[in-house]
C-alpha cells in the first residue's frame, strides 16, 4: 500500500474516516514506520494544543447584557433599517461566496443595471447631435430661400447673387 497523505493522517486523527478506511490506515501503520512516525508527530502536536476555556465574571456578563439591552432599546428606526440591510447583505455574501454560478448571475445583473443608463445616455447624445445638424441645415436652407426671394424682388441676376449672399449673411 502507498504511504498515507497528510490529509488522511489528519482525518484519522479527527476521526473523520469511515470504519473501512480506519482499518486500512491502522493496518498500514503496522507495516510502515515512516507513516507511523509522521502520525506520531502530528498526534503529539495536535494533542499539545490545549483546549483551554476562557470565561468572564458574572458582573462583566451582566454589564454586557445591560449594554445590549440599552442599545436595542435606543436604536432608531433608521438604525434598525440599516442593520437589517447590513444583515441581509452579509447573509447574501455568505451564501454567494462559495457559489460561483450565483455570484456570476448577480454580477451580470448588477453590471446591466450600472451600464444601462450609460448606454441610454450615449444614444440620447447621438440623437441630440443629429437633431442639431438637421436644425442647422434647415436654417441654412431657409436663409438661402429668403435670400433668393429678396434677390427676386430686386430683380438681381445670378452673377450678383454670391456677393449679395455674403452681404445678407
Amino acid at each position: 500500500m502507498k504511504c498515507l497523505s497528510r490529509k488522511q493522517l489528519l482525518l484519522f486523527f479527527y476521526n473523520e474516516l469511515n470504519a473501512q478506511e480506519r482499518d486500512s490506515v491502522k493496518k498500514h501503520f503496522l507495516t510502515c514506520s515512516h507513516c507511523s512516525k509522521n502520525y506520531e508527530n502530528l498526534n503529539n502536536f495536535l494533542e499539545s494544543i490545549k483546549k483551554e476555556k476562557v470565561d468572564i465574571s458574572q458582573d462583566s456578563l451582566n454589564s454586557i447584557l445591560r449594554q445590549v439591552e440599552i442599545q436595542t432599546k435606543q436604536e432608531s428606526f433608521l438604525v434598525r433599517l440599516w442593520q437589517r440591510v447590513v444583515f441581509t447583505l452579509e447573509e447574501l455574501m455568505a451564501n454567494l461566496e462559495h457559489k460561483p454560478q450565483l455570484a456570476a448571475v448577480a454580477f451580470v445583473i448588477i453590471a446591466a443595471f450600472l451600464l444601462l443608463p450609460v448606454i441610454n445616455n450615449r444614444e440620447q447624445a447621438v440623437t441630440a447631435k443629429v437633431d442639431i445638424v438637421d436644425i442647422e441645415m434647415e436654417l441654412a436652407f431657409e436663409d438661402q430661400n429668403n435670400t433668393d426671394v429678396i434677390l427676386d424682388i430686386f430683380n438681381l441676376d445670378s452673377s450678383q447673387k454670391s456677393s449679395s449672399t455674403f452681404i445678407s449673411s
Binding site: 495536535l46 483551554e52 449594554q67 445590549v68
Partner: protein, 184 residues
C-alpha cells in the same frame, strides 16, 4: 459546546419571538461562553473578545426576528460570531499596519519571538499563529479543533464543500506545525 445546545436555543428563541423579553437574556447567558471562546481564539485578547461578544449578541438580538430556519440556530450563531470576530481582526490589523509604519521597532522580530519561547509560553505562540492564519483555514481549524464540529457541520457553517474544508484544515495544521516546530 454550542452544537449541543440546539434544543435550548430553539426554545428560548421561540419564547423571545413570542414576546418574552426575558428569554433573550436567558439565551445570552446560555451561549455567551461559546461566543466568548470562539472570539478569543480569533482575537487572542480578552478585551476585544468581550467587545466581540457584545456585538455578536446585538446582531443575534436583531437577526432572530429575520431568522428563517434555513439552518440550525447553532450554525447561524457560529456564522455571526466568526464574521464579527473577523471584522474586529481586520480593524485591528489596519490599526496595527498604520502604527507599524511609524514605529518599525515595534515589529514582531525574532528577538521578541525568542523571549516568548524563553517564557515557555507555547500556547500563546500557538494562539498567535492560529490568529494569523488565512480566514478560511482559521475557521476550519477553530471549529474542528476547539468546537469539535464535524467536517460536514463545518461545511454547513462556512458554506463550502466538505473537500474544501478538509483542504483548509490540512493547510492550517501544516502551517501551524511548521511554524511552531521551527521556533521550538
Amino acid at each position: 459546546m454550542l452544537k449541543n445546545k440546539e434544543e435550548d436555543i430553539k426554545r428560548l428563541a421561540d419564547n423571545f419571538l413570542n414576546g418574552d423579553d426575558g428569554a433573550f437574556s436567558e439565551l445570552a447567558r446560555l451561549i455567551h461562553s461559546d461566543i466568548l471562546n470562539i472570539s478569543y481564539r480569533y482575537l487572542t485578547n480578552m478585551e476585544d473578545a468581550k467587545d466581540a461578544l457584545q456585538l455578536s449578541l446585538l446582531k443575534i438580538h436583531e437577526g432572530l426576528k429575520y431568522f428563517r430556519n434555513t439552518s440550525k440556530f447553532s450554525t447561524w450563531i457560529f456564522r455571526i460570531t466568526i464574521n464579527t470576530s473577523l471584522d474586529f481582526l481586520r480593524k485591528r490589523r489596519s490599526i496595527f499596519n498604520l502604527n507599524s509604519r511609524y514605529k518599525s521597532e515595534e515589529k514582531f522580530t525574532s528577538a521578541s519571538l525568542k523571549e516568548e519561547i524563553d517564557s515557555k509560553d507555547k500556547q500563546a505562540l500557538i494562539r498567535k499563529e492560529i490568529s494569523s492564519l488565512p480566514a478560511r483555514q482559521k475557521n476550519a481549524f477553530i471549529l474542528r479543533h476547539y468546537e469539535d464540529l464535524s467536517i460536514e457541520e463545518i461545511s454547513n457553517t462556512m458554506g463550502c464543500s466538505q473537500s474544501a474544508v478538509k483542504t483548509h484544515l490540512k493547510r492550517a495544521v501544516r502551517t501551524l506545525q511548521k511554524k511552531v516546530e521551527v521556533v521550538l
